[in-house]
């Protein structure tokens, strides 16, 4: 793939705008809260688009398109099962406590609700995971650009990381979120023509269905047994593992996304953030997964499109870029590549800003230096931006040792995020849950995840302790690791809580359901701005999509 001058012009224009936004926003940063939490001042349309953009990292776009080519429409489960229900839940039921408790971060909510050790456990694992996933994302981008453009790994990694560092350093969370909105628009406008062109060339949805095995165009029809579909998963593992544990663990407790909603300028806006975000989120499969499916149909048509082979199959990770090279002339090609860079940047900025807040407030202010003047924490927040970016770059180089990005990411989710949702569920909805219970549950859940991975084998992975069971795919293994971790955490938290002394109810106001008076919507909110109404509309639309493509 060769770029023309116009492509470089477009990339440069984009870089100028992101840096310019950071430069303009820098004046709004006067305190550590401005830098780390946007001082709860961001309007709904920005928080909601930033909410999904922060999750749309480069590995998401590349990986979902690859997965579309490999598994077909079943990939949509990562959206219609693995995201939307959890986004509804966090907006309707959990945001009143995150926002109402006035916690500055998700770990800080855990300190208010439980105790210091639970907060610290969550903060430390979260910080590690954040650096890790931002490094993985950077690696994905560097490797891809090396492969398709011939750019050196080091220069593409340093250039894009340097730009994210610059605008995050200047304007903190606000700058990151404003840029995420610009990135979101660019991703959608840059990838939509590709979807239209690829599907059109492959003869529309009917042309695609007629050229591919039936499994490729259905999301539910082949999930009755793991041997019936290429993913090797069945309904229970899919719904419980992905749809419940992993999805709720991510969308409801991961500070990377929750932080965006917590920056909203009112309680209603905070609750509506994930609900409004759900509308574009459920349409993303049409611009990333469907082109991947179309690519497989194009290969059957002998029109000159082919994925490069890899082993006995294809190098699916190149689906997105080979499609761009086939359908985008110079000019739009520059836009497509800029969109890919934008997705990388939005994902990385999400990680960096979440890490800043957790490090500064939960680890540094919590343990290293309490009671310093606010300007000190602002400086620490800024320095964390630099150190965090440096650690991510180091991780990117380490990640060159690994191959499959999605699997690795999911493995880490399984270890860290899966038990967390049990802790939050009990913490927010069961006043009897105690700090010792939460901490014991989290440690036991994480250990159970690691143990399950050590005792089971899938595609040659895991079973480093003994081999008790074999899964048909690593995806099935990950879903089941998550289920085991969640269940262990849930049960251990209950048992330990019942054995330890509960906190008085007066200390749990604004933290637990049943003790807290849920806020009524602001009087000026119209009917369509009510979280309940939005949740029903989103839910119905999501069910319809599942039925339509089932």
């Amino acid at each position: 793939m060769r770029l023309a001058a116009v492509d470089y012009l477009i990339i440069a224009l984009y870089f100028a705008f992101v840096l310019g936004i950071g430069w303009l926003i820098r004046k709004r940063v006067a305190s550590s809260e401005d830098f780390l939490t946007s001082s709860r001042s961001v309007p709904l349309w920005i928080t909601s688009l930033a909410f999904i953009a922060a999750n749309m990292g480069a590995q998401e776009m590349i990986g979902m398109c690859a997965s579309g080519a490999k598994y077909g429409m079943m990939t949509a489960h990562f959206y219609w099962v693995g995201a939307i229900p959890a986004m509804i839940f966090v907006g309707v039921f959990m945001m009143p406590f995150y926002y109402g408790s006035r916690a500055r971060s998700v770990p800080e909510y855990l300190r208010l609700r439980f105790d210091e050790k639970t907060r610290t456990f969550n903060a430390v694992t979260f910080a590690a995971m954040t650096v890790f996933s931002s490094g993985i994302s950077m690696y994905a981008l560097g490797r891809l650009f090396q492969l398709v453009l011939g750019w050196s790994f080091t220069s593409s990694v340093l250039l894009s990381a340097g730009i994210v560092l610059a605008y995050t350093y200047l304007g903190g969370l606000t700058s990151a979120m404003y840029n995420e909105v610009l990135q979101f628009f660019l991703i959608v406008l840059g990838f939509t023509p590709l979807a239209i062109l690829a599907v059109h060339r492959a003869g529309g949805w009917e042309g695609i269905s007629s050229r591919l095995p039936d499994m490729m165009t259905h999301s539910w029809a082949y999930t009755h047994s793991p041997s019936a579909n290429a993913m090797g998963v069945e309904v229970f593992g899919l719904v419980m593992g992905l749809g419940f544990v992993l999805s709720f663990g991510y969308w409801c407790t991961d500070f990377l996304v929750v932080q965006r909603a917590m920056a909203a300028n009112s309680m209603t806006a905070a609750r509506n953030t994930p609900l409004v975000a759900a509308f574009p989120k459920m349409l993303i499969p049409f611009i990333v997964i469907v082109p991947g499916i179309a690519a497989m149909a194009l290969m059957q048509m002998n029109v000159g499109y082919a994925l490069p082979p890899k082993g006995s199959a294809y190098d699916y990770d190149l689906t997105l870029t080979t499609l761009m090279a086939s359908f985008y002339p110079s000019g739009l090609l520059g836009v497509g590549l800029t969109a890919l860079m934008a997705s990388f940047m939005s994902g990385m900025a999400g990680n960096v800003t979440a890490l800043n807040t957790v490090w500064t407030y939960d680890i540094y202010q919590g343990h290293i230096r309490k009671g310093a003047p606010d300007s000190h924490y602002l400086m620490v927040g800024r320095l964390t931006t630099i150190v965090g970016t440096g650690l991510s770059i180091a991780t990117a180089y380490l990640a060159q040792l690994y191959n499959n990005i999605m699997d690795l990411l999911q493995l880490v989710f399984g270890f860290v995020n899966a038990p967390l949702f049990a802790t939050f569920l009990l913490g927010m909805f069961w006043k009897r849950a105690t700090g010792h219970g939460a901490f014991g549950g989290l440690v036991a859940g994480t250990a159970a995840a690691a143990l399950t991975h050590g005792l089971t084998l899938a595609e040659g992975k895991g079973a480093w302790i003994a081999r008790l069971h074999e899964f048909p795919s690593t995806m099935a293994q990950n879903f089941w690791i998550a289920i085991v971790a969640w269940t262990t955490c849930f049960l251990v938290t209950i048992v330990v809580s019942l054995l330890t002394r509960p906190r008085p109810e007066s200390e749990l106001v604004n933290l637990v359901y049943g003790i807290t008076r849920l806020p009524p919507p602001e009087p000026q909110a119209r009917w369509y701005q009510r979280p309940g109404v939005l949740a029903v509309v989103v839910g119905v639309a999501c069910v319809l999509l599942n039925v339509w493509f089932g």
Binding site: F17, I21, S326, S330, G331
Partner: protein, 61 residues
């Protein structure tokens, strides 16, 4: 507080102009798998989006 619609409107307007110009200058130049003047159509789309954003932002201020 400034409005994000202005800079993003400006960005997509400029992007649309660049793409339209590229499409008009070299209409015969197309990607391997399509005959369409993709740059022109996508450019028009971006120009429209950028224009709407600018209009919304300017109307407010």
């Amino acid at each position: 507080m400034w409005d994000l619609r202005l800079p993003s409107g400006l960005f997509f307007t400029l992007l649309g102009l660049i793409l339209c110009a590229t499409g008009l200058v070299g209409p015969a130049h197309h990607a391997p798998l399509t005959q369409a003047n993709v740059n022109l159509y996508a450019g028009a789309g971006m120009l429209a989006f950028g224009g709407v954003m600018l209009w919304l932002g300017l109307r407010r201020s």
